[in-house]
Amino acid sequence: MTSTLTPARKRSALTKGQLPKFAPYVVLAVALVLGAAILALIGFNAFGWGLLSAILFAAGLVGWSAAVEGSRKAKDKLATCLVMGSFLIALLPLISVIWTVLVNGIPGIITPGFLGTSMNGVTGVFDNRAAEGTGAVLGGIYHALMGTLQITLLATVISVPVGLLTAIYLVEYGNDRPLARAITFFVDVMTGIPSIVAGLFAAAFFFAIVGPGTKTGAVAAVALSVLMIPVVVRSSEEMLKIVPNELREAAYALGVRKWRTILKVVIPTAISGIASGVTLAIARVIGETAPILVTAGFATTINNNVFGGWMASLPTFIYTQILNPTSPSNPDPSSQRAWGAALVLILLVMLLNLGARLIAKSFAPKTGR
């Protein structure tokens, strides 16, 4: 069908046997129209239209190319279509997730008191009333937000010194010794530890040291540190490695000791990369659910003591509100709160990611002096 579209005008001998430049656009337009027409017969939906049009586009372009240019060029076109198609497929879940969270989360987040109250005293009775329309959706995420911030802060306080010092050891003192190689290898292996195993480790550790059933924010922070340290080590190591050796040699030549060289020359040069790496590591652990679930339990009240008592966090709040709604007969208010919390969590993670990029840009060492 498409071969009739080949233009009749004279072609230069050099471009003979090639598709014209506008060929993809023509095929795309035909595919879109044809896809819409076919779906109009069997019932229209946007997803099916996109899918059908994409298949028609690929088939049309490859077929046309095979007829005009031969099988090698046609295979090339097919590969291009598949590669671009896989990128579009990868975008689908991203858009879908963000859209779902936005649509479901905005009603939750604009409820009065959502950010400022905890779930203390909010029972199924209130949720039933809210579902009947005789009361507002009560309760909020203040306790979970505070818990998340405290646990993450403590995990950062533990991880950053350990991670940074390890990176310094690997780059400045390691010299490819067996120990340094072993640390590099096991740090890589540690990045692959399942988050729930990190949680179980912290739980088992504190069960053995403090006593069975110990669940506090601090245990969760230890679990998160296990996940965070390898990320900090890797990113800091990369950053320290790219500090030019001339800077170190200049400092040594002036008689500066090694540790002062590291503190005053190497780290300030690499600080932007290290800071952005740490921010990304925080963004990674702030959304971890499983390790907190098995180490800090879940609470409905505000607990500002990381060393005592169960503690709520945003991810576990989402998890429990979805899996065990406050009112089992009317799960809607609970799921509204869960999606609101999900929106807050996604915003936190995105802000941290954005912050990491800004830090990397704005604190980058000034070169050319």
Partner: protein
């Protein structure tokens, strides 16, 4: 602690050097100790489950009868995730490294990294609330038309909360991991090889087939194995999406369970021997993922030595 000696006068320098290098060494050793401790403490807390009489373990048939179905379930979910994610991830990585315009490439890479930034619990919530209900008609179709295959045996779950849905959600989560590693490897392909292929008249696809993919094969294998490690240990996506049950061959019925989800669902309320059983399950998961990750890292490190010649 070392910064206080910054201002002090001479003589402090040598001590500072010792303290600082000692601290750096200690931090490095701490990491090894932590990894060792993970194994040790899991083993200590898991021992009662291994030694307890068979009738005391959940299910009443001993620990291995309890763990065996969920190990298989974990593998099924991970394999589904990899089968879906690997071709797409390689395509995306090729798109970013060899097809997209140079100015767009880094931005597109960042978009894919966003997929990795979204917390797993949100993927789980999305899978349970959106994907499961959207995909269940497709399961009905599979049950009607492909039902003769044991893996698509009907009747399909009405809610769509099946191991296949969980696998699809997992595939979204491992996609950015495989993509970012494969992209790095593709970008390392020697430029001369690519240009030689193009100069001999190869099309772009032939160039990729002849120069890029053979060069990147070990890297792709290790990227897939790292993705496997992530898929094996991922908890929330499965815990929220899958309505679990006994081991079944059909992927579109509710049933099956993974180790990580089993722990997350039961640990908060567990007490006594049940805690030890779950920690033992965690130990098994740890050993499996550790083995997978070590093999993957070993392939990468071996590959590094070879690529040093370029």
């Amino acid at each position: 602690m070392t910064t206080t000696s910054l201002t002090s006068s001479r003589g402090a320098g040598r001590a500072g050097d010792k303290v600082f290098s000692g601290a750096a060494l200690a931090a490095g050793c701490l990491i090894l100790a932590v990894l060792f401790g993970v194994a040790l403490f899991l083993l200590i807390q898991a021992l009662p489950a291994f030694t307890a009489p068979a009738s005391d373990i959940q299910g009443g048939k001993g620990f291995f009868a309890y763990i065996w179905p969920i190990v298989i379930g974990t593998l099924i979910a991970a394999v589904i995730a990899l089968v879906i994610a690997t071709p797409v991830a390689i395509g995306v990585a090729l798109f970013i490294s060899h097809y997209a315009p140079r100015q767009l490439a880094s931005g597109l890479g960042y978009v894919i990294d966003l997929l990795a930034a979204i917390p797993s619990v949100i993927y789980g919530a999305w899978g349970a609330a959106f994907l499961a209900s959207q995909i269940s008609p497709a399961y009905d179709w599979l049950a009607d038309n492909m039902g003769w295959l044991p893996i698509f045996q009907g009747p399909a779950s009405a809610t769509g909360k099946t191991i296949l849905t969980a696998g699809i959600v997992l595939s979204v989560m491992v996609l950015p991991i495989i993509t970012s590693l494969a992209r790095e490897i593709f970008l390392q392909t020697p430029k001369l090889h690519e240009e030689a292929a193009l100069a001999l008249g190869a099309t772009r696809w032939e160039m990729i087939k002849m120069a890029v993919l053979p060069f990147a094969r070990p890297g792709i294998i290790s990227a897939v194995m790292l993705g496997l490690g992530r898929a094996l240990g991922e908890t929330m996506a499965v815990a929220l999406v899958l309505s679990s049950g006994a081991l079944t061959a059909s992927l579109i019925q509710s049933g099956n369970q993974t180790i990580a989800a089993e722990i997350a669902l039961n640990f908060p309320e567990a007490s006594g021997l049940k805690v030890n059983t779950l920690i033992a399950a965690g130990l098994i998961l740890f050993v499996i993922t550790l083995a997978v990750n070590m093999v993957a890292r070993w392939i990468i490190s071996r590959h590094k030595e070879f690529s040093g010649a370029n």
